[in-house]
């Protein structure tokens, strides 16, 4: 046998060796299309149609990876997605991807793969020391040690962490590939395109169903692609498959998804699939996603995911060169690779005899070791007739070799294989094909909360009852025989079509010729090795996680006897193959240790995903600018052109401040704040929520929503309102204007807009359906420019407004319709700054025009645009609250000192009863106060907490937090608002604000009103 050429990965490559294990002909590879690829720095050749695994085997490369815990050398066990051992890192740079199964990686020109979890190289891995010390590392050893000294744990853990893990992530972190998601609907989703799935899809499609057929492999056909001893309607399997696929492809409402794994089955027949769109291409086109996540809502599903062959559990069963018998047959028949010359087939059932025949036909020497004593049936006869030696009642008790299988020890054993009856003999060999029977892939059925039952004859769990609208078919349904599986598929396809309301097509099952075999294995779960309990070479149950039969016994002894405890204590089934090959063996060995039957021990519940699902595909295009919409106002262009800095407020981007050349944020904000009080400022207030309220009961509705009275508000008048939740806590505020007898215009906070509309609809629809009120969101109908400052009226006049702005004609808290530059506007005389102020609303299409027009008109007055930061300072100078800043869901109007807005006479409003609870009047509730720092230049950080005794030991007795804090250029000093326990009683007193750096700020508790306390500026 030629050993693979070992190199240090990536340093240099050698010329491609011959494909020495490739058969002379046959298989579904395209021998006219050779492909070169690199594994661990060595260049090899394969063919199109190969997987990385088949190509490596063709090149006699069996050592492919290292196990998780003991770093044991591992090869290729299987030929599909159940592979636990052959995990590789594929690709380079930003495109490298760890932990891919070589059995699923399709070969393409230039494919670059590396082995994992080894240092410095696959062959010489220092981590393999763990294997030598494995007797000190049984299951759960880490729970029992690394505790002394306590301070050392982080050091121990550091070592453990670096020893653990499998592959390395990509060297560059930004994934250059594109991933997409798509929704789909169908009458029938068929998961699995083997014989049963194909037949089911065909029958459903012929019955007129919208069908999606998904299979994880590159072509449909499943196991059938690896069988040479079957004919269907007189055709080869490949011929029959091609015919079926062609018929399906010609039907419009059939979607064929090869390379697509159905990985999740959720409530109400919602299934998730990942399609590997370009992974098999050497140079994928840029317009295609690398992978696509399908989210399918199916009326009916047919689960036909086939079955997994089980390994036999014997000493040394993890060596490279020990493979599953079905996989060996697949490599021979589908890939034209013969993975060994001197071979042993070790089995407890008939199926492996087909592998023996295939090996024999391929020219290998074969010995069959069968655990069963009484061998009957045609297959056994055929094997013997081919001159192959068969040992009945024997077992391979130990497999050995250094990095590859070199010899086996064979001995006669008892009925269950657990006890060696007589002296063993040895035999040199380079391939062992084992078969422990089949386990249906019931994962999706179980995800969908279908029930499982134990089949005593087939020794497996198979579906019994379903929970969703779903059918099982074929090997996944415990129907392993090809002929019966096709019939099962046909039946399921018809049943699903019928359940989807269609007329079932009259289709006959094709005629099958296949070996006549028994599907009943012998129960032999743990093969004895002639040593005492726990001794001798390890026999592996979970290959990837290095869980041995002894570990299962240990868990049982220590009381970890529930299946879940076994799983969690030993990590059995927790590896990236999710126990597809180990589950039943582990259960059986546990059952044996506990003296119980397998179904009594139970099985684990399978959960999403069936096989690992790409995170990139789940994220899809919801990344970058498409992660979450960003909403811009209609004046945004101006802000951007004039150098504004922005802040996110919910989904909105709002101008935060407008720095001029060389200005710091503080400089800019100071300038903006001063301008608003000395001449005029202009703010883009378009993002405020606006709700149009209409109906004869509109006023009554507002009366119930807000804490104050609304019935008598005059038309054209505005009023400020505070909205509470029914627990009495402030939820939103804003100004509402009466446009007509039955017509109001409400404004809400920017962040609260959607929530307030929903809140109002909820009350109308669910609690007060008798109220005749309609709500319509007009947030975006209007662009809003707020003009604020002593010159505001003059600027409006300069802008050509066509109404009188005299306070007598247009008083504070009223609204007028007007025109500016010929465009109709609604002007609200309300103020969040305490200055003379106008909120000018205009149809959004003219928002930018209005803004530029006002800027031009205001130029002579030094009109200054101000952002949200200056707006915050200006309102804080006046002691106006911001919901969500002064409040946090635990603040009542009384806490804010706003008793004045809570009606004492209204019989009810939302939150009224809650405010009357005894605890709401407690004097030590947090109350809104102002803070005046002793050092007037010192601005307290927002979020700082106040105490009475700055020298108190920790934990300190905190009074509460600073909610808003700014430098006020108008005051010439710092201002702050705070919510302090019993705050109003502290008025005039001193509090201390300890800083994170140990410093303490001293402040006087004052009224939360710093500027123009008498409100004299409101009329300019």
């Amino acid at each position: 046998m030629t050993k693979s050429v070992m190199t240090r990965a990536g340093l240099f490559t050698r010329a491609a060796p011959q494909q020495l294990s490739r058969s002379a002909g046959g298989g579904r590879i395209d021998r006219s299309k050779p492909v070169s690829f690199t594994f661990d720095g060595c260049s090899y050749r394969g063919y199109e149609g190969d997987t990385l695994a088949s190509a490596l085997l063709a090149n006699n490369v069996h050592l492919v990876g290292r196990s998780f815990k003991y770093h044991r050398p591992r090869g290729i066990l299987a030929a599909g997605s159940e592979e636990p051992n052959a995990l590789v890192r594929v690709g380079r740079g930003a495109r490298a991807e760890p932990n891919l199964r070589a059995t699923q990686v399709e070969l393409h020109e230039g494919l670059y793969a590396e082995s994992q979890n080894r240092f410095p190289s696959l062959k010489f891995d220092v981590g393999a020391i763990n294997s030598a010390l494995q007797s000190f590392f049984p299951a759960g050893f880490y729970y029992k040690t690394f505790m002394w000294p306590a301070s050392m744990w982080m050091t121990y853990e550091h070592v453990i962490r670096h020893a653990a893990g499998l592959g390395r992530v990509a060297d560059e972190h930004d994934d250059p590939d594109r991933y997409e998601r798509i929704h789909a609907h169908c009458d029938v989703l068929v998961a699995g395109g083997g014989v049963a799935g194909l037949m089911a899809a065909l029958q459903a499609a012929r019955s007129g169903a919208r069908v999606i057929l998904a299979d994880e492999q590159n072509e449909f056909g499943g196991w059938l692609l690896g069988e040479a001893d079957v004919t269907i309607d007189g055709d080869t399997p490949a011929g029959w498959i091609a015919g079926v696929v062609a018929e399906l492809a010609a039907i419009d409402d059939v979607t064929l998804l090869p390379r697509t794994t159905v990985f999740g089955y959720m409530d109400h027949n919602y299934l998730t699939l990942t399609e590997r769109v370009t992974d098999h291409m050497a140079s994928p086109p840029a317009h295609l996603p690398r992978q696509r996540l399908w989210k399918v809502r199916a009326t009916q599903t047919i689960l036909a995911q086939g079955a997994h062959e089980r390994p036999l559990v014997f000493s040394g069963n993890d060596l490279p060169g020990v493979m599953l018998a079905g996989a060996v047959r697949t490599y021979i028949n589908r890939y034209g690779v013969v993975p060994g010359n001197r071979t042993v087939v070790f089995t407890n059932n008939d199926d492996a005899y087909r592998t023996a025949l295939a090996l024999d036909s391929a020219g290998a020497h074969v010995l069959v070791v069968d655990l069963r004593r009484d061998l009957r049936g045609e297959l056994v006869k055929s094997v013997r007739a081919a001159g192959i030696e068969v040992l009945s009642g024997h077992a391979v008790t130990i497999a050995s070799g250094t990095q590859h299988l070199a010899r086996v020890q064979i001995a006669p054993v008892n009925e269950g294989g657990s006890t060696v009856l007589d002296d063993p003999f040895h035999m040199d060999c380079d391939l062992l094909a084992m078969s422990g029977g089949l386990s249906p892939a019931v994962h999706l059925h179980s995800q969908a909360r279908g029930k499982l039952g134990w089949d005593d004859r087939l020794l497996c769990f198979k579906p019994t009852t379903v929970h969703e609208a779903s059918f099982n078919a074929g090997a996944g349904n415990g129907v392993f025989d090809t002929e019966k599986a096709i019939a099962d598929g046909l039946k399921a396809g018809g049943a699903a079509a019928k359940a989807a309301g269609l007329t079932v097509s009259d289709t006959e099952a094709p005629a099958i010729e296949a070996p006549n075999q028994s599907w009943r294995p012998l129960a032999a779960w743990k093969i004895g090795n002639g040593y005492g309990p726990g001794q001798g070479p390890k026999a592996f149950v979970d290959f990837q996680n290095d869980v041995t039969a002894s570990d299962v016994g240990l868990a049982a002894r220590e009381g970890y006897q529930s299946v879940e405890h076994l799983k969690r204590y030993t990590t059995l089934g927790m590896a990236t193959d999710q126990g597809k090959t180990s589950n039943i063996n582990g259960l059986a060995i546990l059952a044996d240790a506990l003296g119980r039957e397998i179904p009594e021990v139970g099985t684990t519940t399978f959960r999403m995903p069936y096989t690992p699902a790409s995170i990139g595909a789940i994220a899809g295009r919801d990344i970058g600018t498409l992660f979450d919409p960003t909403r811009l106002t209609r004046m945004d262009e101006w802000h951007r052109a004039n150098g504004a800095t922005f802040e996110h407020v919910g989904q909105w981007m709002r101008a935060w401040y407008y720095p001029k050349d060389g200005e710091t944020m503080q400089d800019a904000v100071n300038r903006e704040v001063l301008a608003a009080r000395t001449t005029a400022g202009i703010l883009d207030a378009s993002t405020l929520g606006k709700i149009d309220i209409r109906g004869p009961d509109a006023a009554e509705f507002l009366n119930r929503l807000y804490t104050n009275s609304w019935l008598k508000l005059g038309i054209g008048k505005c009023r400020y309102g505070l909205m509470l939740k029914d627990d009495g806590m402030v939820m939103d505020d804003g100004v509402t204007t009466r446009l007509g007898e039955n017509h109001f215009h409400m404004t809400t906070t920017t962040g609260g807009a959607a929530g307030v509309l929903d809140w109002m609809e909820e009350w109308l629809q669910t609690e007060w359906p008798d109220l005749k009120v309609y709500l319509t969101s007009v947030t975006e109908e209007w662009s809003v420019a707020t003009l604020s400052g002593p010159n505001a009226a003059k600027i409006l006049q300069a802008a050509g407004i066509d109404i009188s702005l005299d306070t007598a004609d247009f008083p504070f808290m009223s609204m007028r319709e007007a025109h500016i530059a010929g465009l109709p506007v609604r002007v609200f005389r309300i103020s969040f700054t305490g200055e003379l102020s106008y909120e000018i609303n205009i149809r959004a299409r003219h928002g930018l025009a209005l803004w530029t027009h006002l800027m031009a008109a205001g130029e002579a007055f030094g009109l200054t645009p101000y952002g949200t930061e200056a707006m915050h300072v200006l309102r804080a100078e006046k002691g106006f609250i911001i919901v969500g800043q002064e409040t946090d869901g635990s603040v009542t109007p009384q806490d804010l000192g706003m008793d004045w807005i809570v009606s004492k006479v209204k019989p009810d409003f939302i939150g009224k009863r809650a405010l009357e609870r005894a605890s709401m009047a407690m004097e030590d509730r947090k109350q809104l106060v102002g803070l005046r720092t002793r050092d007037r230049r010192r601005v307290i950080p927002e979020g700082a907490h106040a105490v009475l005794d700055p020298n108190e030991e920790m934990p300190m007795t905190m009074l509460g937090q600073v909610t808003s804090s700014y430098y006020s250029p108008n005051i010439g000093g710092s201002i702050a608002m705070a919510m302090l326990k019993g705050g109003r009683a502290l008025m005039g007193g001193t509090v201390y604000l300890p800083m994170l750096d140990g410093d303490v700020i001293e402040a006087e508790v004052v009224e939360p009103m710093f500027f123009d306390p008498k409100g004299e500026r409101i009329n300019g």
Partner: protein
Amino acid sequence: MASVSNEGQRPPGRTALTDMTVMTHDNPDGGKPGLVITELAHLGKINLRGGSDMLPVISNHTGCSALPDNNRVVSVGDRHIVWLGPDEFLLLCAAGSETHLHSQLTLDMAGIHAAVTNVTDSLCALSLRGKAVRRVLAKGCALDLHSSKFGTGDCAQTMLAHAAVTLIAHDAPGFTLVCRTSFAPYVTEWLMDAGLEFGASFRG
């Protein structure tokens, strides 16, 4: 465009996508793009809330004889009444005609409990045409858009990725999509991105 009031003398103003540049992804297979996006600039939109007693008034101004059934659109000429909910409809009309229509409807409905709201600037309407429209929409919309399930005259309020949209299916392989104005740039960017594999163009 109806020449009512003095709309014509005013600047038409800006739309949600005025600043969006024309974009094209070529169809990788050659030929026409699978998705062509056009903004229906200033398409008139009036939100109607009220019961069946609105019908005579609506009828009078649109010519429709009945309000649409659930999930359906009623069209007469360039006026379309889109069902939004049990007592809610969206009336689409030619650009510029909405102001007059709005005031007429408001006036005529004075006696009944109804709300007529001009939402022309609140919402943005896009025309989506091309062979791949349904495939592209399926990437962000969970509705079954198969032509047998969502055909001519059907409409739905739903989600397209992270945006709330109203979809209206027309006879040709085309849809009208209506969304909040501030979501229009996101929706357009999303559609162009989703259309990459079929070719897509935004024509402004």
